[in-house]
Subunit: 333 residues, 4 copies
């Protein structure tokens, strides 16, 4: 049974942990020596590469691959071993992290003809950090279980910056007994690792958060725009909202109005941050999930459509807080 | 000029304030003696009555009136003098607070045949705490200025409970020189008094906050419902949202899902709190203001329509967080 | 009573109508002779000018005015007498038509210091063809009745082209007994004159039609765009919709997709037709009316916001069918 | 190549068609004799059963199956042969029609372990009349082509009544050369058979129509409700809309207001017709398709959410025109 496989995996790094004194010795040992068993990493994009680097920094040998060979160069230079396919990675590593753009990529990497499951070892721990449909996560978990492996979903909150600084939040779904084993790796790459429940729960939590974020952001942009047109000073309005019941993360930590806050995309012409096109993609996922569970999401749907419309009107690559700019009167009008 | 009229009014309470030592003496004097000049109060509803009582508690003689004589009884028993019309109140008080249900009531009380402006004294300070269209506030200010008086809008945030406990927040718009004079009275009835800018700015800030609140609440209800259907524990989901970018006042301070928080309407079958019908009314105001200023409010409009639909389906008198219940599958489905 | 004043007015044109034979004689007489009494016309904009010209063509002497003297030139050249103010027009004509941009203009022209009601003759018939809030129409009717005059609302459907060709549709609200008197004039300027009920009903019908039109147009644009992206030929898709339950005026008579139909704005780069900014204005009226009557209009509100957003993004002066273009992917994306 | 297989299939019915004289003889022959080759029919629900009966009435032997054996009884009594699985049907018939509830059913019936493709004969014509995602139709077409068969999608417009009366409209997608062969069968069950383009086009057209229908219906309900609240007579309002630019199928052929029209569900307490839950399901399909093609559908999405909300509030089994009732003020409010 895969559930009991957790210990041997832990053991592989830690031969001796009888007492707390010894544990400290052991931890020191682990940190300094390359005796840790290798970790597989599949998907070396903008997020995957810095994540894998943080595993290397923490002393884990990394065996990696990507559909685009050129994406592997940077990690290879950092000391990772590069292989040709997910199947080859699965032959060599019994802990594998995947970080892929969308559901079809995940299905291909796990169940394709050169996929992980073709050569997976019994007891392998699979952690998928892609943001995908929770239903696909559940399918992958079933397929993994048939091979004697364990699949967990662990999508992230936080962008490229947080990935580089190992400040990501991981939302983890899967068998609770395996959570510690996953946490060991995820803490190398993130500041928070939250257990959300059964397989798919990490995706569910991720999707819920992004939907509410989108609603709050559009709402904040509309509200700030309305207040400004009514003659209010934007900084003062933000301050009033933030001490009142209108307060939300978009108003107090990521205000979309230029000049209200520093260090946010609105202060930098909506460069950087989280792009409108990625927001639209994630909201599409939220919409699909809501449709499949027959859940009414009136504002969630409209938020999706607003971001989709923005993509059609030239805002695809701007930060999603550029909704404020989108709603403003055009110059010359 | 009305602006210079502030001093005489202050003077009426404070004969002597040459030095800070003397000021302390003076303040003690003011608090303990009934020498304060009377304050007019018009509109003795659920909010107005406890507000006026707090003026009495702070030693201000109150001269009050209401369109419904029976509404005056409670305040009369508390020691207020009751007169027959706004005009009569204006004859006797040079500081008047109004707390009325909607724009037409405000227009009538100020400019009607027995209205305040018919008998107002030069230099009178008028403070309107009703929630109305900022355009009406501006009209009233112009009309008051013609009579040598000063009008300020000071709508409140907080309900009947906050009114009783003098914990309201006042959002004040008007001439800045008069703000101190208004603050003196408003601090008797509220915990926060915020200066928002020129006349109408208090209303504008109030409307902005309520619109963003409504969006955040519906968004939170949709999101919590979606998460629950995806198998997440509601308390855990709320915790995750509140540590992430989906966080908002409705998720962390007024969660609409029964059992997630204590002491909120959702924990009490959506009794108490802020009713759906009042929310729909305020959102109507936000919509009018947005229409008049040609401001696109896509989510704000939809939030308005959702609350209006709830009113049509039997939710008028429930707290506005009952949107969660409205979106849930009916029993027996 | 104004209601009985209808006959004298009719009589002024038609001395003798005892039998159908005589009526025919009379009609001929009316058409050929300039013995008709003058008609007042206030508001000589893009719509008002061709409407007034059609009265002239039908043999009615026209006495007109406009807030902008330069607007009067064209009608003066056509033979109308130009006066300085609505009050002066009211002194000379006992039938007056008004065609103004919005509610405040109507209020000013009727009740302002140089307004119609200042010098109105008893028994005058007032017909307002402006598109305004039905509540304002009702106010004007009350004010007119106090002066012994009759006010009817008669907003039009159809644009500048229809106005020139006397093909407008008039939606008439007011006392039924006066309908014939109004119809006599309106048939000179339109092809259809529909009696809708009490005062304000014309406006109500107009607002209802425009709201459903906007919903149908946006829906058609979204649907055509979706079908095209799914690989359907636009002409074929339009044909299928038009023989099915998706059929609407926007799909079968004013299709927003270039190349599907000829002679519509979409075939002419969205020039001409009914501008997005006017649509947004009329939808604002619909929204106000819905808010005042507490009617939920979920799609109606969103349609309003979509057109308002288009105005902010540079589509203000294009025909309202340009929503199709607005939703399309931008070139280079 | 499957494309050339059309003729042999035709031939199987028509041994001789060298001249038009002979063709007439042949047609008579076909109509009167039971020599027609059998047609497979899979999916004997409310729609499938009357459709298959119409094939029997037209002289086609029918070989049928359904996942629920009890659903087969009625058709068996009408003379059809019942088999145990889609695979068995495919062994015996070279023309097969499927009519199933949703995409997963279609995938199972075609590609499952007892599916059609397991035992399909080369040259078989497969016609799927289910309403499903066009992407699934395309997948099935590819899978069928690999087996030397031809797949066409032919979803229907019209309900159970139209199915019984052979008055359905079929929207057909697939290889144009096969259209005649499909039409031969479909005309037995429907009044209109429209060729829409390549495989998936039938589904695309169906989805487009249903989305625009939903938007038109909600828009009509909102508009009629607004007009009624403004004092207009509903029949008169419907008449005005139907002669104006607000006209749509929902206003002129299926008006949602009781008493405006006869013979529609609104005249019968919203019984019969097309249920809200089926509308919500089809709109979910439209939403998925729009999401996958990145098409903004602002009103289409909201219409989906409104019908989804109605399902949550007890309207699942009422006709979709009950949106009018849903928006009305509840009694006792």
């Amino acid at each position: 049974v895969p559930l009991t496989s957790a210990k041997p995996r832990c053991m592989s790094d830690c031969q001796n942990h009888d007492s707390s004194v010894q544990r400290t010795h052991f931890n020191l040992f682990c940190r300094t020596m390359a005796s840790k068993t290798p970790v597989g990493f599949i998907g070396l994009g903008n997020m995957g590469t810095p994540m894998a680097k943080n595993l290397l920094k923490n002393g884990y040998p990394v065996i990696a691959t990507d559909a685009f060979p050129e994406s592997c160069k940077e990690l290879q230079d950092s000391g990772a071993q590069i292989l040709d396919s997910p199947a080859e990675v699965a032959e060599k590593a019994d802990r594998i992290i995947t970080m892929l753009p969308s559901s079809p990529n995940v299905i291909e990497v796990y169940t394709g003809s050169n996929g992980i499951l073709k050569k997976i070892k019994k007891g392998t721990l699979l952690i998928d950090s892609s943001t995908i449909d929770p239903a696909v996560s559940k399918e992958m978990a079933v397929a993994a279980e048939k091979m004697g492996a364990v699949f967990m979903d662990a999508p992230v909150s936080g962008g490229v910056g947080a990935a580089s600084l190992a400040k990501l939040t991981f939302l983890v779904g899967g068998v609770e007994e395996e959570f510690n084993a996953a946490q060991e790796l995820l803490t190398c790459m993130g500041a928070n690792v939250v257990y959300c429940g059964q397989v798919g729960s990490g995706q569910a939590a991720k999707i819920c958060n992004i939907m509410l974020l989108a609603i709050g952001m559009i709402g904040t942009a509309e509200t700030m725009n309305l207040g400004i047109r009514l003659g209010l000073d934007p900084k003062l309005l933000a301050k009033i909202l933030n001490m009142s019941s209108g307060r939300c993360w978009s108003s107090d930590s990521y205000n979309p109005v230029p000049s209200v806050m520093e260090g946010v995309p609105s202060a930098n012409n909506y460069q950087g941050g989280f792009s409108t096109t990625l927001m639209a993609k994630d909201l599409g996922l939220a919409q699909n999930t809501a449709t499949n569970t027959r859940t009414p999401v009136l504002l969630g749907s409209l938020a999706h459509q607003v971001y989709r419309t923005m993509c059609a009107r030239g805002y695809a690559n701007k930060d999603f807080s550029s909704i404020f700019q989108f709603l403003r009167e055009e110059e010359g009008q």
